[in-house]
Point group: C2
Amino acid sequence: MSKRERRSELTYRGAGVDIDAQDDALARIKKHLDSTRVPGVLSEIGSFGGLFEVPDDVERPVLVASTDGVGTKVLVAQRAGRHDTVGQDLVNHCVNDVLVMGARPLFFLDYLAVGKLDPAVAERLVAGVAKACRENRCALLGGETAEMPDIYEPGHYDLAGTIVGVAPRDALLDGRRVAAGDVLLGLASSGLHTNGYTLARRVAFDVLGLGPDDELPGCGRSVADELLQVHRSYFPSLEPLLGGDALHALSHITGGGITDNLPRVLPRGLDARIRLGSWSVPPVFETLRRAGGIPQDDLLRTFNVGIGMVTIVDVRAADEVASTLATRGESCTVIGEVVRAGEGGGRRVVYEGRLP
Amino acid sequence: MSKRERRSELTYRGAGVDIDAQDDALARIKKHLDSTRVPGVLSEIGSFGGLFEVPDDVERPVLVASTDGVGTKVLVAQRAGRHDTVGQDLVNHCVNDVLVMGARPLFFLDYLAVGKLDPAVAERLVAGVAKACRENRCALLGGETAEMPDIYEPGHYDLAGTIVGVAPRDALLDGRRVAAGDVLLGLASSGLHTNGYTLARRVAFDVLGLGPDDELPGCGRSVADELLQVHRSYFPSLEPLLGGDALHALSHITGGGITDNLPRVLPRGLDARIRLGSWSVPPVFETLRRAGGIPQDDLLRTFNVGIGMVTIVDVRAADEVASTLATRGESCTVIGEVVRAGEGGGRRVVYEGRLP
């Protein structure tokens, strides 16, 4: 694992860096890394860099890379003392980001920065990363654990990572195939995924004055259970559609909501018409809207409101795609369509109706 | 640029997230990204992921990836109010890490996490990243800027990044070519590079009670000038040796010093014999040693003590390699050789003499 060698600064303990803890964390992490090995991985832990052979079965291979963090969802994890989910959030978020370009994941590297290294916590965090890597057939190729007592408070950490995926050049998805009449299939999210947490934390912890174990009103579960739901990966469900004619584009609904993310794959001259009310909005969003006094437009630009991925498909294939996705366990709804934009329009989301 | 789209959480400003600042930072950053464009880059800012075509002139291409941070060198930058160097440190460190595997850099992605987003500071940081990317002919393909007021204090930031390089499989460097009699050529570092900063800060700021603009005793320059020297990239000098017969291995001297890093490329049964005193140790290390009361062994496992990269070369080619590197501006010294290990030994550094 790239720089996860032991840092042997012998006088560092007094300065707040604990070498024994680093050795312990490294030993605990190694088995999780090993569990993610896939064909292509050449390197072993301790090397200066992770090695991955470019697959030889991809025509004109294009690498698709993305770096992301988990944002302040880590603060919910820290407050709840649950550290095994945010690593999954991180990987799944990144997998979805390369998936929407038409790529399948190859490998992942994580960056974990802590105030004081707790080997058990570091292990839970990396275990989460490794679990999601396995689920997406993605190697955890390396990473860095940095102990920086003067930047992070004890008990605090930040978690970020980088994914590299691959797609044949001709199968890249960039929105060019999108046409008027295309159907928008919304795939259900699992809670907030990783966006809107600064606002959600304010509402849950400050406005409502709840603790992590208190029930979140209307949700039938605790604040921690609701807010730490794992960001879903849509790769297992959508992989069979990659490279096919039916799939015209994908949009991962992250920060900015449907309002800002869907236009990123719309060509000039086309809008997306979305029927609010056509899908069932999970209660957490209504709870946050009410308690936070958030207007509908703001809600739609802050949260995914129940749709984590929008699949843009050829109208002739829509029924078949929808039923195939349903058999793969996706909750899949026609939420609108691509339409020709009016005068001065284009690359916008036009909402009809209201959220239920 | 992957997730560097605008985050449109309209009620976020009150919660500490400033959308105008994000738009401003994004606009400032874009030109620096564009300045790093190299053949292979397919994507534009705003896309979900960065795209890079696998070069078609590399036989059996192997991707070499590494994630790293700058450690607490960022605290020196923050204290000195100089933000244009740590991005260079980050990229050059990562470039060296894939270089020692035999790879040339393809692309880089950065992760910048801040307490409060100051667009001018973010621009300086990314400008540093982009400058080093250009110098190493490496694309800055994406990145993430995260504003997390509840994790980082105002004025504080953390900077990390991921590099992906490529090498032909047959030209990978993994230490297997290293043999007894090989010559160790040490290439000069520029100051501390990015390691030992928790200790160096304690000594400079606490033990010696200096500020960033005070002169560091014995160094003839200020604490900030000395401690913010840019971590060198050895790629421009060493690239012509990649894939050749003369070069047997490379070791990047980072955390753990020569003591811990050189063994990573030594095969079983071989030691590295290093003659202390054979190279000139920059005064900063003597200043830190004295003021911090650091024993020589600890110094050698904490700092690079003047050698940033060890080049292990065939004895028959050593003179030619050394003079070629000298013509490229490297300060290059024979610091020892690879020897057969004694009973129970191997994969160790054996020091002779003492540091001057």
